[in-house]
């Protein structure tokens, strides 16, 4: 078949000559379709093959099909949905509060010198204390209920949001402020049309760190003193030696993380379509 194709005489009108000198590409080139899925699928394949050939001991890591069966059972009993809902509510609440606080603080400290003097120092100090080290104090202050959990997550979220938004805001070129001054816009319009969109790349970068941070904090607060949520389910399974349930929990965490990161990337692509970068 291919030989016939190759020897068939070319119709000059159908295929105009296309001789070009093309430079070697130095950028990463065009986007691969579903490129983001390649790595995870490869890992999944490794797991399946490893379990099927017996290279992975089921006591170390349950087989994928056992995990799927366990997940099915957990869904049937309603436990998985219940735990997932509890965990998701915590993560989303903490994320929302943290993002709002980080953004507002970054804008105040980025736009006013007085605000910067008051806000920037404390945030930098907070940054050097690992979030998880604060948990004992937070438990004393807020108890072991939902309040403490959400606040811990929010604390983990607001720092990266603040740092990156503040940085993005400060790197907006002064010439745009000058333009806004000559155009006679108000301070509010300046924030809306110049500051926020200009700081958006920084904010979104911060958001990606924040999402990861929220998940990390979620895992930790759910494994101490928790009576519900995915983390509680995992802790319980650990006590009874149920590897498969633990893996189901981890998979749920992974899915949460992937979905969150994917959403941020999607927002990034929509919100930053004005940029021309290597990302394409």
């Amino acid at each position: 078949m291919t030989t016939i194709e190759a020897t068939r005489p070319r119709l000059p009108s159908a295929e105009p000559a296309d001789d070009r000198v093309v430079r070697r590409r130095l950028g990463p080139g065009r986007r691969i379709r579903f490129g983001y899925a390649v790595g995870p699928v490869a890992l999944l394949a490794l797991w399946v093959v490893g379990s099927a050939t017996g290279l992975i001991d089921p006591r170390t890591l349950s087989e994928p099909w056992t995990v799927v069966a366990t997940a099915g059972g957990l869904i049937e009993s309603g436990r998985l949905q219940e735990s997932l809902a509890t965990s998701a509510v915590r993560a989303v609440l903490g994320l929302l509060i943290g993002v709002a606080a980080g953004t507002v603080l970054a804008i105040v400290s980025g736009l006013s010198r007085l605000g910067e003097s008051f806000i920037d120092g404390p945030v930098q100090i907070k940054r050097s204390i690992p979030n998880l080290a604060l948990i004992p104090l937070l438990i004393l202050w807020f108890g072991i209920g939902e309040e403490m959990k959400v606040i811990t997550i929010a604390l983990g979220v607001f720092v990266p949001i603040y740092i990156h938004t503040h940085n993005g805001l400060r790197s907006i070129e002064g010439k745009y402020a000058e333009l806004a001054e000559t155009a006679g816009v108000s301070r509010g319009e300046f924030v809306r049309h110049v500051v926020l969109p200009g700081a958006m790349p920084g904010f979104l970068l911060g958001l990606r760190f924040a999402v990861t941070g929220a998940l990390l904090a979620l895992v930790v607060v759910e494994q101490i003193n928790s009576t519900s949520g995915i983390g509680h389910m995992i802790t319980l399974a650990s006590n009874y030696g149920q590897t498969d349930v633990i893996v189901v929990g981890l998979v749920v965490y992974a899915i949460l993380g992937l979905v969150a990161d994917g959403s941020v990337r999607l927002i990034e692509r929509k919100a930053l379509s004005w940029r021309r970068t290597l990302a394409g």
Partner: protein, 262 residues
């Protein structure tokens, strides 16, 4: 449209500057008691050596020099538009939104479209600034400044970054726009030919004051005109440049063409 300390009460002048001093260091001033009047609708070109203080003067008129030491009186109209050397379009706003940036009227979008059509950018309203060529970006910047109906248009080497052909097109366009909108104009340029081609008056800045103030009374603004060449030689001499091409040679690359811009 920026806020300024002074407001003109008498409308015989669009710009009135008296005894303007500005300095960036103790060593010496950049502007040393400069006086300048610009009549409504008058097109003034400002030339001077690099570092002579042209941008400093323009920024003083634009109200952008609050941190610069100095004193003197500056009176400008309410509605001032500024065109910078870079087009200064907000990269995150589409072209039309850039043009109408800061306009609060209900018909802003419509007026923006008209302004874009005037500069030959109809159909590009939805483009991102990085999708425009350098000349198109500068035309969008012109549309943004003119949509505000300025009484005074300040431009700091607006065509400095453009290639020679595009610059000629922009000259034609700017004259056309200024005839239509009739703002007073102060155009900073380092290009003597550009100054003569465009302006009613050319002023030379030196030692922080207006060293020369020449009216351009040419019937045809063509480099082939001996009067044009004489004026050019005079201005170049003022800037300390010998012009040995004085009696009207014709360089293809500087020929001025009055065909409409596109």
């Amino acid at each position: 449209m920026a806020t300024h300390p002074g407001r003109l009460t008498d409308r015989t002048a669009a710009v009135r500057v008296r005894g303007l001093h500005r300095s960036f260091s103790r060593a010496g001033g950049v502007l040393n008691g400069l006086d300048l009047d610009i009549a409504p609708g008058e097109f003034v070109a400002l030339i001077g050596r690099s570092g002579s203080g042209k941008s400093t003067l323009l920024r003083a008129l634009a109200g952008l020099d609050r941190d610069v030491a100095g004193h003197g009186a500056v009176d400008v109209p309410d509605k001032v538009s500024v065109v910078f050397q870079d087009s200064r379009l907000l990269p995150w706003k589409r072209v039309l939104d850039n043009v109408t940036f800061g306009l609060r009227d209900k018909d802003a979008a419509q007026r923006g479209q008209v302004a874009l059509a005037e500069v030959g950018l109809e159909g590009r309203e939805k483009a991102w600034p990085h999708e425009l060529s350098g000349g198109e970006q500068q035309r969008a910047a012109l549309a943004r400044s003119l949509v505000r109906d300025p009484e005074l248009l300040l431009a700091d080497e607006p065509f400095g970054a453009l290639d020679a052909l595009t610059r000629i097109r922009m000259h034609v366009l700017l004259r056309k726009l200024c005839e239509a909108h009739q703002p007073a104009v102060l155009l900073v340029t380092h290009d003597v030919d550009e100054a003569i081609v465009l302006a009613d008056r050319v002023i030379v800045l030196d030692d922080g004051v207006v060293a020369r103030d020449l009216r351009v009374d040419l019937d045809r603004r063509s480099q082939a005109d001996p009067e044009f060449a004489a004026l050019r030689a005079q201005l170049l001499a003022e800037l300390g440049v010998e012009d040995d091409s004085a009696p009207a040679p014709r360089h293809a690359h500087t020929r001025y063409d009055r065909k409409a811009a596109s």
